[in-house]
């Protein structure tokens, strides 16, 4: 007999509050619906009441994991309206923070994913590595989250000794290549819980318009860093990672290999950090009347901003569409026909961020 099972909005398997209502026949999921909105804070409305300096601080609070992504994208949009070209050193520093944030986000996901399939020792191993990334972010910015690096026109903090951060990359690269990636891609326990689980075909990925690692794990080679390069990505020779299988395992592989690409990008960026100023403008930013859209590639995929100005002290409209906003609905087709026991890892494989989604 069919029955309904609610997961969430508060549950140990969920990083943040959202609710999945699954309809089951025995242990098999027949259909699922998703409820969000439990973390709604009205940030877009608040942004219309902040000046161009304060709004950057507000935007950083959209997400506690990819906070720098949001300030970077917002600042790029405001700079596009004002015709501001940031200095090469500022672009390189933004790129470095962006990739460090991707590393810590992917490592966070890898740890929580390991925990969701009961692999506690892998969780500890991964979170130990993540601490090294957090330490590096703290050494550069003074903060472990919400780094306060960006301002309209450039960055607020320099990286005076870039070579000092290279040894951490060596540690990360060795640990990722010798331990984390092999365990996630070859361990029998991991494969038994992830291979062929939570399928999203290429056609479904196109239909649901997913982005980021979820799209790339279904064979869609979409990555803003490659398709519309921004900051220093064109100069660094970014290579995207794509897998055709469309299952949880493919999403794991994409993120694992992306971490290795991130360490390569970071090494290149730190070694070639150009000299020069940190900001293109001095004093208060003046953003004339205008509007711009901006896309960047967050750890979870394409983030999209629309920013409008009427030439006043602050933005007249800020629209934020996060990658989770389009990826979370695609959990519904991934769950159809799956055993209830796979629900936890399938929803986790999307790396859903509810703080971003609800704003």
């Amino acid at each position: 007999m069919a029955y309904t099972f609610p997961l969430g909005p508060y549950h140990p398997a969920l990083e943040e509050p959202f609710k999945i209502n699954v309809r089951l026949n025995g242990e098999v999921i027949e259909s699922a619906t998703i409820d969000v909105g439990f973390s709604f804070r009205g940030i877009e409305a608040l942004a219309q009441r902040r000046n161009w300096i304060e709004v950057v601080t507000l935007i950083e609070r959209v997400c506690g994991i990819c906070s720098n992504v949001h300030t970077t994208t917002f600042c790029l949009a405001a700079e596009a309206i004002a015709g501001i070209e940031i200095p090469p050193r500022a672009a390189a520093i933004r790129t470095i923070i962006y990739e460090l944030e991707r590393l810590h986000s992917h490592l966070l996901w890898a740890g929580l994913g390991a925990e969701d399939i009961g692999f506690h020792s892998l969780f500890m191993e991964v979170f130990t590595l993540r601490e090294r990334v957090m330490d590096t972010l703290e050494a550069i910015s003074g903060n472990r989250v919400n780094y306060g690096m960006n301002c309209i026109g450039g960055v607020l903090h320099d990286i005076p000794d870039p070579a000092a951060h290279l040894p951490v990359l060596d540690v990360l690269e060795v640990a990722l290549a010798r331990a984390v990636v092999p365990v996630f891609t070859r361990d029998r326990t991991v494969l038994a819980r992830t291979r062929g689980v939570g399928l999203l075909t290429r056609e479904q990925a196109l239909e649901w318009a997913v982005v980021g690692p979820v799209a790339r794990a279904s064979g869609l080679d979409l990555d803003v860093r490659k398709d519309a390069p921004y900051l220093a990505y064109a100069a660094l020779g970014f290579k995207s990672v794509c897998q055709p299988q469309g299952d949880v395992q493919a999403r794991i592989v994409v993120r694992a290999l992306e971490m290795l690409e991130s360490t390569r990008l970071l090494r290149e960026a730190l070694r070639s950090l150009p000299a020069g100023p940190l900001r293109a403008t001095a004093g208060l930013p003046h953003i004339p009347a205008g509007e711009a859209t901006m896309r960047t590639e967050a750890p979870r995929g394409e983030v999209f901003y629309y920013v409008a100005s009427e030439g006043g002290g602050g933005p007249s409209r800020v629209k934020i569409r996060t990658p989770s906003f389009v990826n979370i609905p695609a959990i519904e087709p991934m769950l159809t026909g799956q055993p209830l026991a796979n629900l936890s890892i399938i929803q986790a494989s999307v790396d859903p961020c509810l703080s971003c989604t609800d704003r």
Partner: protein, 151 residues
Amino acid sequence: MDPDLPGWLAALPGVAAVAQRAQALWVEAPALDPPAMARAMAERGIRLAAITAIPQSPDGETTILYHYVTPALSINVRTRTRNNHLPSIAALARPASWSEREIRDLFGVEFDGHPNPVPLLRPAGFAAGMLRAAMCGPTAPVQSPTARTTP
């Protein structure tokens, strides 16, 4: 950019003008037929990224911006509601579903024909359009960048 794209966009029903600024195309379409646009974009493989709503007054019309993307380009199609209604494109473009539900929650725009018009972000007890009055037009910042005084 595909050189045919601006002309192709200009030929969509209801489109009045197409302009290129930076890495984006801006399409002005006050009489847009959203379902016809959604079908045409889908046939050409252009993905819907987001929908922005900008309320013009507390009880008036709403500017709607459909943000489409190709790998390297953004296409922003601007239209207006009619009596604060527009035809839904959720059945034609899945990512529109949550966007239209959110816009209904925040600004009270009705997307006619939406397959599942239930609240997305709106808590129980709040009426549709819960932030419309608060987000109408430009709002003076609470504090200007130069207004701070040193204690």
